[in-house]
Symmetry: C2
Subunit: 191 residues, 2 copies
DNA sequence: CCCAGTTTGTACCGATCGGTACAAAGAGTC
DNA sequence: GACTCTTTGTACCGATCGGTACAAACTGGG
């Protein structure tokens, strides 16, 4: 551990994540990873001794951590639930680059038999729980809060799918506005 | 063309489609296809001379055709828009096996650089257009009809993602009920 | 029953897969 | 500058990839 090691891991991990997002787990080959990161196999296997599986595991863990600290915790802890929810919308729009970026958790959820089922499950249920809690605190009855949270969390995933299918980021942003309206946030009616 | 040829294509195509659904395009290997179909490579390349790419192309075309005749056209042509919409919900629930089955179009939309972008685009915009038309005919203003159609089409995709992530088909069915409610269909409030 | 045409299994192709071995190069310490 | 320890590029591994060649087995029509 002379110089880099820890310091250089993060940007490399980010580049790797983007490859997984674009090609899925099985479509991500080591050659794609070497070109995307600019590192040779030697360096990659030095940083991630267990290869592809360690890479995807660390990428997923990194995503989970980011959402946890940046979105889920603020959602649950805020004393101003509306502000917390609005912050979630903004962070989400930013993270997914207004719909141009895919949700790797959602992609992995569809991909079938990964060994990360429980991790993916936790990601989505954490999100929904945190959001439901904030909506509940904002004054809606518990039952409705849970239902709205499910609607929004799944709706975000669907918006990403549709936006990507149509190559139209506007769809994603429009859906996000629709969720705000649904929660009674002031943001103007349609469009 | 002595016996089978045309007749046997369909069940084989169905088995192939299931493999694509479970593993994505890049994750679908010829060995998986041979075991899933029970056919050897020789037979597969006899039915689909251009290999994997022809298979996925025919699978997508088959899906497109099915939705077109079974859902989109009835949606647009019905004189009773509410009945047409309810029929769409039922067909959709049935097709996706109450959320246990994945939407291959949605998966391909996420998968990135496929040569089927326009086909995928058409699938979703056809769906949205047909649904918006039915909602409009049911009495909602055009602007709202378009928005609701976008909400529901993307919402279905998101419901599939979430249901698969949580291994809980109930999520999908609950979302579908929510859409019905949203359109003013009688189906009881929450749950 | 024979024969044209089809369907099938098997062997094989070069390319690429994920992963390993290891020697050369780099970098911090003294 | 010599000595560690880490990082890197390269060559190589067996396995599998998508795809082809082709002879044997099958099939219905005459």
């Amino acid at each position: 551990m002379t110089t880099s090691s820890r310091r250089d891991r993060d940007p490399v991990l980010q580049a790797i994540a983007e490859v997984f997002r674009r090609h899925g787990y099985e479509g991500t080959s080591l050659s794609r990873l070497t070109t995307a990161t600019g590192l040779g196999k030697g360096s990659l296997y030095n940083l991630f001794p267990h290869g592809k599986e360690q890479m995807i595991a660390e990428v997923l863990a990194h995503i989970q951590r980011w959402f946890e600290t940046e979105i889920f915790v603020p959602l649950e802890e805020t004393e101003n639930p509306s502000a917390g929810i609005e912050r979630m919308f903004r962070s989400t729009e930013q993270y997914f680059q207004s719909g141009q970026r895919i949700c790797l958790m959602g992609l992995m959820a569809l991909d079938g038999d990964t060994p990360f089922g429980t991790q993916i499950q936790a990601y989505f249920s954490d999100w929904q729980t945190a959001l439901a809690s904030a909506i509940y605190k904002s004054g809606k009855p518990q039952e409705e809060a849970t239902d709205l949270a499910e609607e929004i969390v799944s709706g975000i995933q669907g918006a990403l799918v549709l936006a990507h299918a149509q190559s139209d980021a506007g769809i994603f942003l429009r859906r996000m506005q629709s969720f705000r309206r649904r929660l009674g946030f002031p943001c103007g009616r349609l469009q």
